[in-house]
């Protein structure tokens, strides 16, 4: 096991299965967002959690502004973790942009993955009329980057204040030590640019790994049009429309998320046996 990668990407492994199940956090988040969902699979799977370099409790020293300028750099993080743990045929669950990161990783080293589960995925956030509706105009995404900038100072002080004001809840402090979101504004901005201005549509026909697409309702970030486009262009994909609203069903509606993933894994497992 490559201990350097384990430390660099803050890799956590637990659970009892033979088969590995890897959870990748979405933009701006770290592995703690998977807490509830990952727990549900620990009896049947060897659960793997990690943080991308630059977020969570990863090694910030390892951040490379050239490598992480595109999603390829993040996909390399996934492959590094797979190699470090010697994974084979793992279930990869990616939220938001991690769906695309996992997909890119699967194109480079398909043997690591048996299944891709995409939660709130979008192959391209920008509109490309008339055939593609990603949901955003360029200036709207620029506006998001500006908002991130304006909230940066707020973030830093907000966390500090939260810790100080809740000394009566020591558990919270411990939880906070696992940073929820990347606080380095430069890294966050670069991740945002790599995420929101990427266009992975041309890669879709090359994907060989079976894929489950979990489409949220009323998700402004990954609209139904984006999920359907993926479903049409990924040959081995299953599309599930969720009851869950918003962009983070694994946090807001963990039960439904767990149930749909489990159902898909059981069905495909049966399919394989049959």
């Amino acid at each position: 096991m490559d201990q350097d990668i384990i430390v660099r990407n803050n890799v956590k492994v637990f659970g009892n299965g033979d088969k590995a199940m890897m959870f990748a956090p979405g933009f701006g988040c770290d592995q703690t967002v998977w807490k509830t969902v990952a727990e549900a699979f620990k009896d049947d799977y060897r659960v793997v959690l990690f943080d991308y370099v630059g977020s969570g409790n990863s090694d910030l020293q390892a951040y490379d502004f050239i490598r992480y300028n595109t999603l390829e750099g993040y996909a390399q993080d996934v492959l590094d973790v797979c190699a470090a743990l010697d994974l084979e045929q793992a279930v990869f669950v990616g939220h938001s942009v991690s769906s695309m990161i996992g997909m890119i990783a699967s194109l480079r080293q398909p043997q690591y993955f048996s299944t891709l589960v995409m939660v709130g995925p979008s192959p391209c956030y920008l509109n490309d009329p008339p055939e593609y509706l990603g949901g955003f105009e360029r200036e709207q995404l620029q506006g998001l980057l500006e908002l991130m900038e304006k909230n940066y100072i707020g973030w830093a002080t907000m966390f500090a204040a939260t810790v100080l004001n809740n000394s009566s809840r020591p558990a919270l402090k411990e939880e906070l030590e696992e940073r929820f979101c990347s606080t380095d504004p430069l890294i966050a901005r670069q991740f945002a640019e790599a995420t929101f201005f990427s266009d992975n549509r041309k890669d879709l026909p090359r994907v060989t790994v079976p894929t489950l697409i979990l489409q949220c309702s009323d998700d402004i970030i990954a609209p139904v049009s984006a999920g359907e486009y993926l479903h049409q262009h990924l040959s081995k994909s299953v599309f599930k429309q969720m009851e869950a609203t918003g962009h983070c069903p694994h946090m807001s509606h963990p039960e439904e998320t767990i149930q749909l993933i489990r159902q898909y894994l059981n069905e495909t497992a049966v399919g394989v046996l049959a």
Binding site: L147, K150, G154, T157, T162, I221, H247, C248
Partner: protein
């Protein structure tokens, strides 16, 4: 909602667990320009601009879920009329009747936001300036590094050059000595006295001379000036020297001497046309018994024959073109007689470059009675006096012959 909250100096909203609007106060309604009925039950994100909706999803929802509170989040509201209103939001989630609800206050920050925008612009400018500075600094460092490398290289080359120069100078000095050794010593016989002066423009000279006693009454005097000066000319003089120092003492005829020298030059440059040098030469065969001089002047400055009694001067002017120019040139000597006390001056153009042709002749005339050893010093002095420091000197050489 109680009246105090309804009209509080900030916007207030209560959201359901799903983020739908349950209650909204009058202040926020008037900020937005809406009515309560329009908004009740709708998702709070509909109040936001598109970027704020995304930010809300990415940051507000997860943070609220985890921390049960959000503080000082900067978002922008969008009123139905399309106006964008920057706000700061604080939110706290609590349980009411077993259901999670979230209370939020909205604090418009139009002016503060403008101020922040300006700050951000200034910050970005400062950052770009800093990046530019870093870049310039890096480039400067690199340039300095390069310069240092080049300087080191230059110092190294300079040292090599210095060593090379010293070695070359040593070699040239040695060559000059060899060239000077080849020059013949003054002659002081009862019937003839010969003195000479020889000065190279650099270490090596393109001038060469020789005077030899052929038998008891015959003497051969030769003076050559190879075109140019420096190493190549000097090498040619040495090559010619080795030839004439065999021919002249052997008593070869003047035409034979010149012919041989001419053929030698042609054979030297037969295959190397670019290296071709030609050469002016004057050869005098002096017979002291018959008091006759046979001479050939191949393109050389005229030698002067000074009579002591009449003060007359006779020029031994050019009889031929310089040697090494056209192959097969015919050399026919001229003969003149002299009387006792006549005096000859042979010189190269390096001498007349300074003094001019008209200077030498009076000098010779005025000093016809003093010994040629003194006369030589007078000419040298005259040369030194007339030399301009800035003037590029040619090789200088002259020969004085006293016929007794």
């Amino acid at each position: 909602m109680d009246s105090l909250l309804d009209h509080a100096p900030c916007g207030f909203i209560t959201l359901s667990a799903n983020g739908d609007i349950l209650e909204i106060n009058q202040t926020l309604l008037s900020i937005l320009g809406c009515r309560q009925d329009d908004l009740s039950g709708r998702p709070v994100s509909t109040l936001l601009t598109v970027p704020s909706q995304v930010f809300y999803q990415f940051y507000f929802v997860p943070l609220l879920k985890r921390e049960k509170r959000v503080e000082e989040m900067h978002l922008s509201l969008q009123s139905p009329s399309g106006e964008e209103i920057p706000v700061i939001i604080n939110a706290v989630q609590s349980e009411k009747d077993g259901k999670a609800t979230t209370d939020c206050i909205f604090f418009p920050i139009r002016k503060r936001s403008e101020y922040e925008n300006e700050l951000l612009t200034a910050k970005k400018e400062a950052e770009s300036a800093l990046i530019a500075l870093h870049k310039a600094h890096t480039e400067l460092d690199m340039a300095m590094g390069n310069l240092k490398d080049q300087q080191r290289e230059l110092v190294k080359l300079n040292r090599q050059n210095q060593r090379f120069k010293q070695e070359t100078e040593k070699e040239l000095e040695l060559a000059r000595k060899i060239q000077e050794i080849s020059l013949t010593d003054p002659i002081d016989h009862p019937t003839i006295q010969i003195e000479s002066f020889y000065k190279a423009s650099r270490q090596l000279s393109g001038d060469i001379y020789g005077f030899y006693q052929i038998d008891d009454h015959r003497y051969g005097v030769i003076l050559l000036d190879v075109m140019g000066h420096g190493i190549s000319s000097a090498l040619i003089t040495m090559s010619l020297h080795s030839l004439f120092q065999r021919l002249i003492p052997g008593g070869a005829r003047p035409e034979k001497v010149l012919n041989e020298l001419d053929s030698h030059l042609h054979s030297l440059f037969q295959k190397e046309e670019e290296a071709r040098h030609y050469c002016t030469a004057i050869y005098l065969l002096i017979d002291t018994k018959r008091k006759k001089i046979e001479y050939i002047n191949a393109g050389h400055p005229a030698a002067l024959l000074q009579s002591p009694t009449t003060g007359e001067q006779h020029e031994l002017a050019s009889t031929n073109i310089p040697i090494g120019m056209f192959e097969g040139a015919a050399y026919i000597p001229k003969t003149i007689s002299y009387i006792e006390g006549d005096r000859l001056l042979l010189y190269t153009d390096g001498v007349t470059d300074f003094l001019g042709c008209n200077h030498l002749s009076p000098l010779l005339q005025e000093n016809h009675s003093i010994p040629i050893g003194r006369l030589k010093q007078i000419i040298i002095q005259s040369l030194e006096d007339n030399q301009q420091p800035s003037q590029k000197t040619d090789d200088q050489c002259f020969i004085l012959v006293d016929l007794r």
